[in-house]
């Protein structure tokens, strides 16, 4: 029999790009990757503590691959493999203790396995989001038919956007929108246009944190409540999203431009042949006024 309570699944996608975090650490800023992960754990624990039916998943986004920090592949409920580590002795809810330990273990593994191969240094965010969507899909199918499951994704972004991932990113966003999955974004450093669009389209919250060190507080205040509870709270208003298109010739953001009616490519200047699909266009020029012959006045 399907239980009456709604299941809330929170997937936290953490950007653990070692280059960015390494640079941060070298500059001796207050927020280190350890502190960031601590904050994520606090959020995860709080989420699971809110209700017994809440579920959590944490995925680390790297420049090599995306790695599930929690739940682990071989982890089953009641597994005694982590017994000595899990009994933390402070009477913590066992699930939280297990989760924390697992996350810590996995991130240590991920970081130690990191190898610099030199071809790409960008975080594979689009891929990680795709994995998150697949995970959500799998989890939804595992429950009974009548069971309602509400999912959302929280992205904690550190490094800059990668322009090459644009197409994949947009596909992920639209897929999430279709599945009614919210994408929230908590941005640590530079604004990300892609995530702004993602939040706008799926109905999530986008926040760029002014104080990185208070990350935990922002996470708990803004991102812990789910979408129903958010309607009752006063949260930061949505930011204005720049939806301007970029012209195909110069990649400038334009407000008014020319669009080829055959292939829909956007140009900032008129050209008689569309360079993408090679269609010829005619445009009516305003009629040329014949210059009147000016009568030269004789100076008197």
């Amino acid at each position: 029999m399907a239980s009456e309570e709604e299941i809330n699944l929170l997937v936290i996608v953490v950007d653990v790009n070692p280059i960015w975090w390494g640079q941060q650490a070298q500059r001796a800023t207050e927020l280190t990757l350890s502190k960031c992960l601590d904050a994520v754990m606090v959020l995860g624990n709080s989420h699971m503590a809110m209700s017994r039916t809440n579920k959590l998943s944490v995925i680390a986004s790297h420049f090599e691959d995306s790695h599930f920090l929690y739940p682990g592949k071989s982890w089953r409920m009641g597994d005694s493999c982590g017994d000595d580590a899990s009994s933390s002795g402070d009477g913590k809810y066992e699930l939280l203790a297990v989760a924390n330990n697992l996350i810590a273990e996995e991130i240590r593994k991920v970081m130690s396995k990191t190898e610099v191969r030199g071809n790409s240094t960008d975080t594979l965010l689009a891929g990680t989001l795709a994995k998150a969507l697949c995970y959500i899909n799998r989890v939804s199918k595992e429950f009974e038919v009548g069971q309602e499951i509400k999912s959302r994704i929280l992205v904690i972004k550190a490094a800059e956007d990668c322009a090459r991932q644009y197409m994949n990113f947009m596909n992920v966003i639209f897929a999430a929108q279709k599945q009614n999955i919210l994408i929230d974004a908590c941005v640590l450093d530079s604004d990300s246009g892609l995530l702004q669009q993602a939040c706008d389209i799926t109905g999530g919250l986008y926040l760029k944190i002014p104080q990185k060190v208070a990350l935990a507080q922002y996470l708990l205040w803004v991102f812990l409540p789910d979408s129903e509870q958010r309607s009752q709270l006063v949260l930061p208003p949505p930011a204005h999203v720049d939806y301007r298109a970029a012209c195909f010739c110069h990649r400038n953001l334009i407000e008014i431009g020319y669009v080829c009616s055959v292939c829909l490519s956007i140009f900032c200047n008129f050209s008689p042949i569309c360079t993408t699909c090679e269609t010829a266009f005619k445009i009516q020029l305003p009629q040329m006024v014949k210059p009147k012959k000016k009568k030269l006045k004789q100076p008197t």
Partner: protein, 556 residues
Amino acid sequence: MHLIQTMAALSEEVLLVVKKVRQRKQDGTLYLMAERIAWGPEGKDRFTVSHLYADTRCQKISPDGKAKIQLQLVLHTGESTTFHFSNDSSALKDRDAAKELLQQLLPKFKKKANKELEEKNRMLQEDPVLFQLYKDLVVSQVISADEFWANRLGDTNHADPSLSNNKQEVGISGAFLADIRPQTDGCNGLRYNLTADIIESIFRTYPTVKEKYCENVPHNLTEKEFWTRFFQSHYFHRDRINTGTQDIFSECAKQDEQGLKSMVVQGVKNPLVDLLSLEDKTLDEGYGVCTTLPSTSNSNRSVKESSNSAIIKRFNHHSAMVLAAGSRKGETPANQASETSNTDGNSRDSVFFQPPVKKVKLKEAIEYEDLQRENRPKTVALNLKKSDRYAHGPVPLQSQQYTTSQDIINSVNYIQHEMVNYKPNLTQVLSSTTASSAIAALSSGGVLMQAATQQAINQMVPSEVQGELKHLYAAAGELLRHFWSCFPVNTPFMEEKVTKMKSNLERFQMTKLCPFQEKIQRQYLSTNLTGHLEEMLQTAYSKFHIWQTRRMLRKT
């Protein structure tokens, strides 16, 4: 409009001349001509008053008992001119003569002028936005009515008049005769309630009755008498026993019989419908059987059978007439004689229509539209040369921050070093000072909440102000459209128009926009509601200024 014409230059036929007619306390003569009515003062050979019949809406006369015998002409524009017939002996006769003539002439010219006005009224009634625009611009005299209608009425004058009658014609109810519902009025009489609709239905269905009506009313019979006779006659009643020719409707009955016979002779045009195969087929006794076959000779017919067949004939005829009247479009009495419809009994040329109708019916039955081969228009294949352009988002090419490979290696090593001994320290995640500063930023008035405190404009501005603003935008838009459509200025007409439009815009700004601005300022609304409107008007003014200076330069 008063045209001043010399009488000598008249080329119109003069129908009536009435002397001693005063207009505005001046003696003169009234002339009724073929297309206009005119009046000239005594002794002068010019007309000071002249009105076309087309411009006249109606005429009015002073009541009979009054001392002054007057005739008033009311024009479409609302103006009126009064003529006082002051001939001592024949004033009344003159006035009546003039009135009769006008009564005959005015209807001829009436239709032309009215149609345009009706069209305008209809457009204003149907479209509230247009009506509001009209009120804002014409009634407050920002632009003249002519300019307002210039663009809008242009098409309808050339359009097919049948297209402008978008309304469907109302059909005839088959039960209109039954709807009359006679009631007993207590003392052995019957009351028939006739409405105009029923009368119209009767006329449309039975053209012969209409003919009789036109012949007899109002010369021989009053309307009431006509209808009384109609209901009394056997033509109306169930049993049509032709009792003699005193009844004016006996002719109608005969014509109906003939019509019915010719209808039967024609048969049905649809080759797929075979009416003759429909017969009462008897199976056995009790299954609708009739033991003796009905014979067609009149002598063997029982009274009941003949009355049955008579009423069936009446029903069939009535239904056929109703259908025929419905398919006849409009009142065209002249055409009824030569009508080619083959559903009523009076058509003659229906034989010519046989082959095409049959063909059409057969074709309809054997062909199905969906099963035909599709004729899609030919399309051109899409040929993309550089499809990778679509993969770029609106992320402009930015100069990336280049990190040297050494930097990268250093960073990675550093972080690996940091995370090798990572242990979550969840009790030391946040200090209370950082937490409270974060909370302050997130509370109302905080750094992150600035945008939330701004209320939406539409919640702050009252709805009448919003409504007024919308009307202002509609009116300004209309004026600006007229203004901008004048460019490029090619003809002197355009020059004139552009100058006029500019003055219209200025007048609009003064009479409508400025009072509105003052009003909202008085209400302490700090939002700038009219900024955009002013910007649009300023752009128009500067364009006009540029055009004007260029024109002056060209002239010099």
